[in-house]
């Protein structure tokens, strides 16, 4: 029974995936829409069932991927639409489904390796063309069953709904309406993109003179894929959609021309071609600027937006190498990326550091190298790796002089496990503490800051390069777990990842033991809290449980079914991807602690958690989501200070960027350096909650693990 239910789920998700949606409910509505012509719908379903069963039987990789069902179903629908449904078509349907499955399996692997590109409905197109060459078109037309139903709707709306319907070979407004409803159910943004794609496509068709009702659905699909599924929704993704619409229009015209002789329809080829072209082109960039591609983890636009917002708030950039601060104490950035002096062209991704005090980098006269604050200070390994080159025989230049014969001066090159190289340059003569071949760990002292090479005053140059050779092209990097202070600010803030500009003051976030033990949350750890407040009565006991899924992601589950993924690194504890039903206590826990630096103990920082975790009445939530205001994150500012006896108080103020739309929330967590968050208080509007940690334990039945609660 469970198996059947799971299979049904996979089937429905496959149908939903045709429109890039994820919810089985959406799939059900799409499935219903296909039965507008029962024969076609049934043919699609037969192919879909095969598309689900064959990968399972054949033990194909990612058998649960909705792509198999999606491509097989589409093949069945269009084959029946093309030839007219009949029992005689069954063998063709079966063969078509097999072909779609095989092609999906092969292409998924191939396209991923090629450039992490998505398969889309490419298997369906190739398979269906193949099959169409052996069946005869029913009704003698390459454009099957195009009998449109005229209704009371305006023409544009009818055209749009028909276009939606024609994605599943059912070009009628009513099934189109069902599908629209299904999409809306899952993602408001997807629905918006669908409308925008249709309208934009009409404009493009009008400009190019390529209008054709049969290919209009390609525009809708292009807008869905490029607008928010594979690219984080943004101005840039809309530009990509515009480009994609143009390409799709061209593709449709060219396809019709080329395929006219064979009598085959272009199907979704314009959409697939345009989408892959745009994505492949964007992949050629070093993804430092928007639009950001999310080819590794495509998701609904809302999810992409939230992830991107959290990543931006926390400074994560997957295309950049994280490095630790290569010094002790606070230094200033002398020259940043794309700096005015030497950080140009191939060497644009580099940072220079020195120490300034009251605007001067030296005390006394500055005529002697020893007058310079940073001269002679230890330089540390910014990453673990192997020393592949180093020298320290060059003299340090007197202040104001440079040695252009040896631009980099004394230096150390460390090869990181990723294969990239990190260079530290202008080191002090005779200060090396490592040799070629040495393995170093992050933070090891390597040498001392000097002024050799092209260095008019003592400073430290840091960059990542792609080859071992000195002067190789540089690669983007950022500093991980730092406290950074912009030029004219008094207080620094903690940044998980930071790429500082010139004039910033930087120090390592870690200043001692930190809170590493407080947020040690192994799988099966259970945190029990006594909660008081609205919805919790007085003294309800709530449990949070840690689990780890198959790919290794840690999840925090509440006993009411909500969950959130979290990551704990050396520098921070961060939660993301909140799932499941509403749970006020869980959400307040997330609001108070969802992004917590582990060091330094006293810190200030910001985050942008989802508005959805703010416990407000349902009507407010609806109002907020009607205006799409839930797509913006909260503006959260955190501050952590020491209290007596080693305890820490972490307070947060959370506001929606649109004033007065939602009440302000204030959270306060007390963190014990060993036991973690022991107490929680929150106020949202005039409602108050409080919670105290009762115990830390391991889930019942966890073998061999002791209860960690200290007596």
């Amino acid at each position: 029974m469970d198996l059947l239910r799971a299979s049904a789920r996979t089937l429905l998700k496959g149908y939903a995936a045709i429109f890039f949606a994820e919810s089985p409910a959406t799939g059900a509505l799409v499935l219903a829409a296909t039965f507008w012509t029962p024969g076609i719908g049934a043919s699609g379903l037969v192919a879909a069932v095969l598309g689900h069963l064959v990968p399972v039987w054949m033990n194909l990789p990612w058998a649960a991927s909705p792509l198999y069902v999606c491509n097989a179903a589409l093949g069945g629908l269009f084959l029946a639409g093309f030839a007219g449904p009949s029992w005689a078509l069954l063998p063709h349907l079966a063969l078509g489904a097999l072909l779609a499955v095989a092609l999906t399996a092969i292409l998924m692997n191939f396209m991923w390796r090629l450039d992490r590109l998505p398969v889309l409905s490419l298997p369906f197109i190739i398979g269906t063309w193949a099959l169409m060459s052996v069946v005869h078109p029913g009704g003698g037309s390459a454009e099957p069953l195009m009998a449109g139903m005229e209704g009371p709707l305006p023409l544009a709306a009818q055209g749009f709904l028909k276009a939606l319907g024609s994605v599943v070979c059912t070009p009628h407004p009513l099934p189109g309406l069902l599908i629209l409803g299904g999409i809306l159910l899952n993602s408001r943004l997807l629905a918006l993109f669908a409308v925008a794609g249709f309208l934009g496509g009409s404009v493009v068709d009008g400009l190019l003179g390529t209008a054709s009702p049969w290919t209009a659905f390609n525009h809708v699909l292009v807008a869905l894929a490029l607008g928010g599924i594979f690219i984080v929704p943004s101005g840039g993704s809309l530009l990509a959609v515009a480009g994609g619409l143009g390409l799709a229009a061209l593709g449709a015209a060219l396809g019709s021309l080329l395929l006219a002789a064979s009598g085959l329809p272009v199907l979704a080829m314009p959409f697939v071609g345009a989408t892959l072209l745009i994505l492949a082109a964007l992949r050629r960039r070093v993804a430092m600027r928007p639009p950001h591609l999310v080819l590794e983890r495509p998701a609904l636009p809302e999810t992409n937006l939230e992830r991107a917002r959290l990543a931006r708030a926390r400074g994560v950039d997957p295309e950049s190498v994280p490095l630790s601060v290569p010094f002790f104490g606070e230094w200033q950035v002398y020259q940043g990326f794309d700096g005015p002096h030497t950080h140009r062209e191939a060497w644009r991704f580099a940072l220079d550091f020195f120490i300034q005090e009251e605007g001067r980098s030296f005390r006394g006269g500055g005529m002697d190298l020893l007058d310079y604050h940073c001269f002679g200070l230890p330089v540390r390994a910014p990453a673990a790796g192997t020393v592949v080159a180093c020298r320290d025989d060059l003299v340090d230049n007197p202040p104001g002089h440079v040695d252009t014969q040896h631009n980099w001066g004394n230096h150390v090159v460390v090869q990181m496990p990723s294969g990239l190289f990190v260079l530290l340059a202008h080191l002090r003569q005779g200060s090396l503490r490592v040799a070629v071949g040495d393995a170093v760990v992050t933070g090891d002292p390597l040498a001392a800051c000097g002024s050799s090479g092209r260095s008019p005053q003592p400073h430290l140059h840091l960059h990542v390069q792609t080859e071992a050779r000195l002067g190789s092209p540089t690669f983007p990097f950022h500093l991980a777990g730092v406290v950074g202070r912009p030029k004219d600010e008094r207080e620094g803030e903690f940044h998980l990842h930071l790429r500082p500009d010139e004039g910033w003051s930087i120090r390592a976030g870690s200043d001692g033991p930190g809170l590493a033990r407080a947020f040690l949350l192994p799988a099966q750890r259970v945190l029990s809290y006594r909660v008081q407040g609205p919805g919790a009565g007085s003294g309800e006991i709530r449990k949070l449980r840690v689990e780890q899924d198959l790919v290794g992601t840690f999840l925090l589950h509440s006993d009411r079914g909500a969950s959130v993924a979290f990551e704990r690194t050396d520098t921070a504890f961060g939660c993301y991807d909140r799932q499941g039903p509403r749970d006020d206590f869980f959400d307040l826990w997330l609001l108070a602690l969802g992004f917590t630096p582990l060091a330094p103990l006293e810190a200030d920082w910001r985050d942008a958690p989802s508005v959805r975790i703010l416990p407000v009445p349902v009507w407010r939530r609806v109002a907020v989501s009607l205006f799409l205001a839930d797509l913006l994150g909260l503006r959260s500012r955190y501050r952590r200070r020491r209290m007596a006896r080693g305890m820490l108080r972490q307070s947060g103020i959370h506001q929606h960027p649109i004033p007065h739309l939602l009440p302000k929330a204030v959270t306060e967590a007390r963190i014990h350096p060993d036991m973690g968050p022991t107490a929680l208080r929150a106020r949202v509007g005039n409602q108050r909650w409080s919670a105290t940690l009762l115990s830390l334990s391991m889930a019942e039945g966890t073998p061999g693990l002791l209860d960690p609660t200290p007596s």
Partner: protein
């Protein structure tokens, strides 16, 4: 008259006047070089004469700018060489409220050694967790306050260990404590009267004893190898020995040590009596101390992070080297005299009651203006009616008029804590602020300061003037 007539006649010579410039070259070289060849007329731009006019003589003068420069330089010397550094201001060096406030503003904890100092730090707004509590005697009543406030108790002896444990047990808390260690660095005299000795096993015994107690948790190690230490190798050895002990103690007791407190003892730029070379040549810079300590400590703790244990926080209790050269004592000449052995003596209005450190330093003594006249070996006496009241046994000084100011420096460390209300009143203390304003930090004492604390039993209050007139 007759004598004059019988004396041999000498030919008359035209008189000449040759001014003797202090510090000028003559056939003996530079007279008094290094002591008063420069005069000192201002502190941070403010005229010392004016300060003496406004606040009296003698008067202690502090420089806020110098204090801040010193602590910032010390901090940077260490934090730019080691990941976790905490300074603790040594209250006994100078616990003037303003001086402490500056140190706390600059991020220093308070290092106290008595109930009084603990209370002073708390009253100044220092939270308990930012107080390092040292010293060989910590009464139960102050432990009962300090433990719940989270102060870091540095246990000195076994009796104190039992006392702290019993207080923690009675209060129902687990106290996080440190123990004070003593050991031979090979470069300094061992101060074995404080703390537990490492070599004879006492220290490990204490660590084990704490490890078995449910009320105590060993979190830190403390040591103070001595005072005015000018050999940085002593600190390198101290850091190494303490780190070794840390590893051993953790291995034997299962505790995790989070901080190593290396104490104080950095020398200031003062001239220690009996020192052959001037301080500029003997006293290491903060950077030299820092380089020695952090190099040794980084090396000794290299594998710790890989072993899943934090690098210990390095705590320093530097006092003298931070405040000494920020303090000046301006005094005035009250009398000149010629001693029986022919030496010249000068009596000043400030004696060892105010300048306690005169017992072990040759302070710099400088006039506030360019003085003319031939410098002569002079002894400077204080105003006390005590034979020991000598603030400088020998110094080359030109002739001085009564009322001439002389400025002693550096005097910021230990004088305003060890000075005595003895025979006379203690004078005003002022500070020159960063923008040149002069603030009074302590009022000069008067009769009421002394009488206020006294209680006269009723039977002594009968008038006795009549008895005296008899």
């Amino acid at each position: 008259m007759s004598d004059q007539e019988t004396a041999p006649r000498q030919p008359w010579q035209k008189p000449t006047l040759t001014p003797h410039r202090v510090g000028g070259l003559n056939k003996f070289g530079k007279f008094g070089a290094g002591h008063f060849h420069q005069h000192l007329d201002r502190v941070d731009g403010v005229e010392i004469r004016q300060i003496m006019k406004d606040h009296g003589s003698p008067v202690f003068i502090y420089s806020e700018r110098r204090l801040r420069e010193n602590i910032r330089r010390l901090r940077r010397a260490f934090v730019s060489r080691y990941p976790a550094v905490q300074l603790g201001w040594s209250y006994k060096t100078n616990y003037l409220g303003a001086v402490c406030a500056i140190m706390h503003q600059e991020g220093s904890f308070a290092e106290v050694v008595s109930e009084f100092e603990y209370q002073k730090a708390r009253a100044a707004g220092v939270p308990g967790h930012a107080i390092l509590f040292n010293g060989p005697w910590k009464p139960r009543r102050i432990l009962e306050v300090a433990l719940p406030e989270g102060a870091r108790i540095h246990i000195d002896n076994l009796d104190e260990l039992y006392l702290v444990e019993s207080v923690a047990r009675d209060l129902g808390i687990t106290a996080e404590v440190a123990i004070r260690l003593n050991f031979d660095t090979g470069y300094t005299e061992t101060w074995s009267r404080f703390g537990f000795n490492i070599e004879n096993g006492q220290a490990m015994e204490a660590a084990r004893r704490i490890g078995t107690s449910p009320h105590l948790r060993l979190k830190g190690l403390h040591s103070h190898i001595g005072t005015f230490i000018t050999d940085v190798r002593a600190y390198a050895a101290e850091a190494r020995i303490m780190a070794e002990f840390m590893e051993a103690a953790e291995y034997q007791t299962g505790c995790v040590i989070e901080s190593l407190d290396l104490g104080g003892g950095f020398a200031s730029r003062n001239n220690l009596q009996g020192s052959y070379l001037p301080p500029d040549q003997v006293v290491p810079s903060f950077e030299q101390y820092a380089e020695a300590i952090t190099t040794a400590l980084l090396e000794a703790t290299r594998g710790r992070e890989a072993a899943g244990k934090p690098r210990p926080v390095l705590i320093l209790e530097t006092g003298r080297a931070l405040v000494d050269d920020a303090g000046y004592l301006a005094s005035s000449v009250v009398a000149n005299k010629r001693l029986a052995n022919g030496r010249r003596g000068v009596v000043l209005d400030a004696g060892v009651n105010l300048l306690f450190t005169a017992f072990w330093y040759h302070h710099e003594v400088r006039p506030v203006r360019q003085l003319d006249g031939f410098p002569e070996d002079t002894t400077l006496f204080g105003p006390l009616c005590m034979n020991i009241d000598v603030v400088r046994h020998s110094i080359m000084l030109p002739p001085l008029d009564v009322g001439e100011p002389l400025v002693f420096s550096p005097v910021g460390a230990y004088n305003n804590t060890q000075w005595l209300q003895f025979i006379g009143y203690r004078p005003a203390i002022v500070m020159v602020g960063e923008d040149g304003q002069v603030d009074r930090l302590r009022e000069p004492e008067d009769l009421e300061s002394v009488r206020g604390q006294e209680r006269l039993p009723e039977r002594f209050t009968r008038p006795f003037a009549a008895n005296l007139s008899r």
